[in-house]
């Protein structure tokens, strides 16, 4: 078993919101990653990086219960998801907001209808859904595009609608799979600020990206998938304006030279 999670468990702290224990997964006989272990503390912010095809999106999918068939244990909100009956999974998913690079919006619904989708599913009245979704769209700066269909919005606007949908039901965990991949730099900064503000109010964020500029601009601990293993880069944590959390100062297989090389390469 990789040491990261074990070490964290030993320290006294609040239970992990999400934890992987020796999780291996692959679509073929060759695993994408092997014996991955980590835990996310409530209120933390982590980047997830790695080369294309390294398994970032798959790891995110495993986190939001979008795929099964893995080995090991995944615990979400303290519950082992593999042993849970199927009809209990939606309840867990309602506590997670997911943001994708390619938006995943419903084309025939307006922005406000897309954002209110999680609320409709939870059985809120049309009025509550509308008011809350409109409020969220205001927050993401789309108060004037409530009734626009996704196809009429720009990439950055669509991504903000997706963020609105992800946060409308006050999730405890936000999983973002390269949300800035299809937008320009200025929009990426604007989106990142939204995630920062969500994190500031206590939402746990996992943000998959390969945008090194963002990592420099908004420093947070970084999970790296490399050679089928998950590493935690902690140097960035030192640049945090707040003290790092316990899980942010531990590391597992960690190549300091490579880390330094990376820092040098990106200035």
């Amino acid at each position: 078993m990789s040491s990261l999670h074990r070490q964290e468990i030993q320290s006294s702290r609040t239970p992990d919101l999400l934890s992987f224990e020796d999780v291996s997964f692959g679509y073929t006989s060759e695993p994408l990653f092997y014996d991955v272990s980590f835990g996310l503390q409530p209120g933390s912010f982590h980047y997830l990086t790695g080369a294309s095809g390294s398994g970032k999106s798959t790891l995110i999918r495993l986190m939001y219960l979008g795929t099964f068939g893995y080995k090991g244990v995944i615990k979400l909100f303290g519950q082992n998801v593999q042993s849970m009956p199927r009809d209990m999974l939606p309840g867990l998913r309602q506590k997670i907001g997911v943001v994708f690079q390619d938006f995943h919006l419903i084309d025939h619904l307006t922005a406000v209808e897309n954002v209110s989708l999680p609320l409709r599913i939870q059985g809120h009245s049309p009025q509550v859904c509308y008011e809350r979704a409109a409020e969220i769209l205001d927050w993401v700066g789309l108060g004037n595009a409530l009734h626009s269909k996704p196809r009429t919005l720009s990439g950055g606007q669509q991504q903000r609608v997706v963020i609105g949908r992800a946060v409308v039901s006050n999730p405890e965990l936000i999983l973002a799979d390269e949300p800035t991949g299809n937008v320009d730099d200025a929009t990426a900064i604007r989106l990142m600020e939204l995630f920062e503000s969500l994190n500031e109010i206590g939402t746990t964020v996992v943000f998959a990206t390969h945008n090194r500029d963002l990592l420099r601009e908004f420093p947070h601990p970084e999970f790296v998938i490399k050679n089928q293993e998950l590493f935690l880069r902690t140097k960035r944590a030192a640049r945090l304006k707040r003290p790092p959390l316990a899980d942010e100062i531990t590391s597992q297989p960690y190549d300091e030279d490579a880390e330094d090389d990376a820092w040098e390469a990106y200035g």
């Binding site: 599913i121 049309p126 509308y130």
Partner: protein, 304 residues
């Protein structure tokens, strides 16, 4: 910033855009056709059963004796005919089990033949056969073959029409037709079920991306199945309405075609006819809703 509620904000939008599916309109037409077929089959079945019951009661209680008219229209021929009629009535009066004999009047006879369009071409005064309607308490007590021999001996030219035999044949025929119509009805209902299953499968494939999003934001399978159910309900009711209208139009067509107010025209608008027209759309819609729910729940339960 405050946002006024739009006028339609009291209703949730449909998450799955079934109305845009190319096959939805076709399905409505197919459902309409199925409703028309099922209601027609059931109408026929119920009316046939009713007819059989009526015939059962009528055929069980009698037979008809036909007396052929004598040649020529002279007074002598008429006397011979009258004599034959009295003789026939006398013979029938002696038969054990006969409760009533009645000579069918010429006007009643012309009414019956009129149904077949003969009244305008046939002179009512022309020599016609005489028909005697015979009512009996129990047909099993009467041997029609012996009675026929007696008639041939005393009233030559008399013929016995054993209605029961004809009715039995008709009854068998209608019974077979009824079974066939029930089989066809079952077949159509089975097709309706299969069609709804097929439609649900197609919907799951067409809207796979949206279903994935719904799952992603925490939708239970039953939430998605409800949307499929509602779609099946709308399709069933729309198709059912068209099919029922078509069936009703057919009834009106037959009503206009049939002359006057007869038992047949009254039967067209009885419960036996209108019941299936109302019931068939409801049954087919219920089947479609059930099929959609079962299919979607089963398919989604196989997904992660």
């Amino acid at each position: 910033m405050t946002h006024p509620l739009p006028p339609n904000s009291l209703e949730h939008p449909a998450d799955l855009p079934f109305e845009g599916d190319a096959h939805s309109q076709t399905l409505v037409r197919i459902v309409a056709l199925m409703v028309f077929l099922v209601s027609s089959f059931l109408c026929f079945s119920f009316l046939s059963s009713d007819l059989i019951t009526q015939w059962e009661q009528g055929a069980a209680s009698g037979f008809t004796v036909e007396l052929a008219p004598s040649e020529g229209a002279t007074g002598g021929a008429q006397v011979r005919d009258m004599s034959a009629q009295w003789k026939a009535l006398e013979i029938l009066g002696k038969v054990k089990g006969v409760t009533k004999t009645e000579v069918i009047s010429k006007s009643a006879l012309s009414g019956i033949t009129g149904l077949f369009g003969e009244v305008s071409t046939r002179n009512i005064q022309e020599a016609q056969p005489v028909f005697i309607d015979v009512q009996v308490s129990d047909m099993s007590e009467i041997d029609l073959r012996v009675l026929d021999q007696v008639f041939q001996r005393h009233v030559p030219g008399a013929t016995i029409h054993p209605e029961r035999e004809f009715h039995e044949n008709m009854k068998q025929l209608l019974s077979i037709a009824t079974v066939v119509t029930f089989l066809l009805t079952s077949l159509v209902l089975g097709i309706a079920f299969a069609l709804a299953v097929f439609s649900a499968h197609s919907g799951l494939v067409i809207h796979k991306k949206i279903i994935e999003i719904l799952h992603l934001v925490g939708a239970q399978d039953v939430y998605i199945a409800n949307q499929f159910q509602q779609h099946a309900l709308r399709l069933g009711l729309r198709g059912g309405l068209y099919g029922a209208a078509l069936s009703l139009g057919t009834l009106v067509f037959f009503y206009i075609q049939l002359p006057g107010s007869t038992a047949a025209t009254q039967a067209l608008f009885s419960f036996q006819s209108l019941g299936p027209i109302v019931g068939a759309p409801l049954v087919i819609t219920a089947l479609m809703v059930l099929a959609a729910r079962l299919t979607v729940m089963r398919e989604l339960s196989r997904q992660p």
